[in-house]
Symmetry: C2
Amino acid sequence: MEKRVYNFAPGPAVLPLSVIEEVQRDLLCLPGAGASIMEISHRSKTFDRIITGAEANIRKLLGVPDNYRVLFMQGGAFYQFAMVALNLLRGSGKPADYIVTGTWSGKAIKEAKTQGEAKPAWDGKPDNFIRFPKQEELKLSADPAYVYMCSNETIQGVQYQIEPETGAAPLICDSSSDIFCRPVPVEKFGLIFACAQKNAGPSGVTLVIVRDDLLERSSGDLPSLLNYKIVAENKSLLNTPPTFAVYVVKLVTDWLLNEIGGLKKMAEINNRKAKMLYDAIDESEGFYQGHAAKDCRSTMNVPFRMPSEDLQAAFLEQAAARDLCNLQGHRSVGGCRASIYNAMPVEGVELLAQFMREFCKKNK
Amino acid sequence: MEKRVYNFAPGPAVLPLSVIEEVQRDLLCLPGAGASIMEISHRSKTFDRIITGAEANIRKLLGVPDNYRVLFMQGGAFYQFAMVALNLLRGSGKPADYIVTGTWSGKAIKEAKTQGEAKPAWDGKPDNFIRFPKQEELKLSADPAYVYMCSNETIQGVQYQIEPETGAAPLICDSSSDIFCRPVPVEKFGLIFACAQKNAGPSGVTLVIVRDDLLERSSGDLPSLLNYKIVAENKSLLNTPPTFAVYVVKLVTDWLLNEIGGLKKMAEINNRKAKMLYDAIDESEGFYQGHAAKDCRSTMNVPFRMPSEDLQAAFLEQAAARDLCNLQGHRSVGGCRASIYNAMPVEGVELLAQFMREFCKKNK
């Protein structure tokens, strides 16, 4: 077999090795099924155990209250940008307030504008998207349909620390790049969604956690697959779900519960990993320049720059020679970025931090 | 390893064994990538080769003309029911004509009605959905936005034999359960879509083949992921595609080209397999009752009934004891159904036909 590298890709991203090994072991024949997980009916008892098991794991990990549904959908975060606006903004007669903290919340408000009045409650662009706003900076509408936020901006490496207060308006959260990275008070949100391909599984499945009362806002004139209420009533089985991807989510959440020991433990590990890289940045006395303000730094994505493009190119090349791979920044902003999701092993981050110190010493 | 059975499931369905073996072999580390196919970026060179390779295979297999785009989407056929109506019916000022030949075209027209005037050009329900209509039976509108058909009704086992003539109106085709089963004159269609989980790969990816001029009908007020034009302009990479599922589609289409030898060869094999089962039905002198009219019989799905529920239960039990599995009919119609997609080995069908004859002899 070829050698696996330390994969700092922003998503699709590293998965727990033990999960991939289990998928590989059972790929020709899932125990008891007589066929591959890719070949079995979504209405079989075997798959029912998988999808209900995945839901139970998610409920346990996040402490999801009983009045919330857990849905498995397709289409990624982009599909949820549309779903949120189609179900909760369109025809509501109210504006929706978007907290714009980076690329992904920026895309979300753009999509929502096709369906109604979507207004920035705060816009981080003048500050170059380096932080999450303070409560007193938010300009919320009197009675918004909802308030929207992105809990972790993958490209800018900005992560919120305290949930904004939104009064009676439901708080909608894109948690694509930091779901399961730490405990979350789900009851403070009306709806949380997350594509799987950072912390939950492969691309192709999206998790949606939605409070029951919001389902009543879905209009009957929406096609079924765009209607949260209908998707929820059909327990995510209106049509064939992405069975393989749901299966991997089940295994990843098993890993979080049984090998890691839950989200509190996961958060401790993530904080430790992130600190290693931020320490290397801070100790470099300006050689490495982190993007985010210190109190908004993401534990998942660590974007940073060096004094020149040439140095960055040398950094990426030398890192790759040590099997520290996929550290280039997003094509829209350049620079470097280390994505250190749940499944990135501590030793990978240690090796990267060590390399960063060495590279700084040699090239400063 | 546990034993693999002959899997007659209607979808997700049997995949070529050699494909699953290759996925399994490379699952921990895709050659040259240093990571699993589940872990690599959709914008990496490795994945670019996979998705462009899959598209090239599809173009070669079906002879897709240059003025058609091949898109990889999520959401299954149900999502296309909505997309077709949102992009081509809504706001067109025209009706859309639906040829209703079974459960799936029935669901499609229901979804379309949320977006505009969707009319049955023919309705097979009074005949219990046993056939595809003749050209002269179609009641087409004077200037419809499009004419819609389902090329193979998975539940009723009805497959069309000659494309309906629709004049200037584009013909839209749900080919979910028979894509790649035989050559198709793509140029007679405006748009063909197919979820992958029958003949093309695992669930979670949907193939769309659409003629360029139809893209111009998509309205700018649609969210991006619901807009064919935007999806096409972004070459299916507006957001993260279901990378693993696209990879398997690449391998399945490799198999069709290189191991089978193309769709003409595939059709010969499929005709041979289907004939084995229909012969067993016809020779049973009414013990087995096929659902579809003889000239509309599907080569993919063979639904049939026996004189009593008890006999059907015994049939399913005894078949399963011989590793002939998942032969129960759809929960909405009951009975039995053998789905014999491309990847079902000839020997599986031989064994089933042999068992059908034996069971008939014993129980008639």
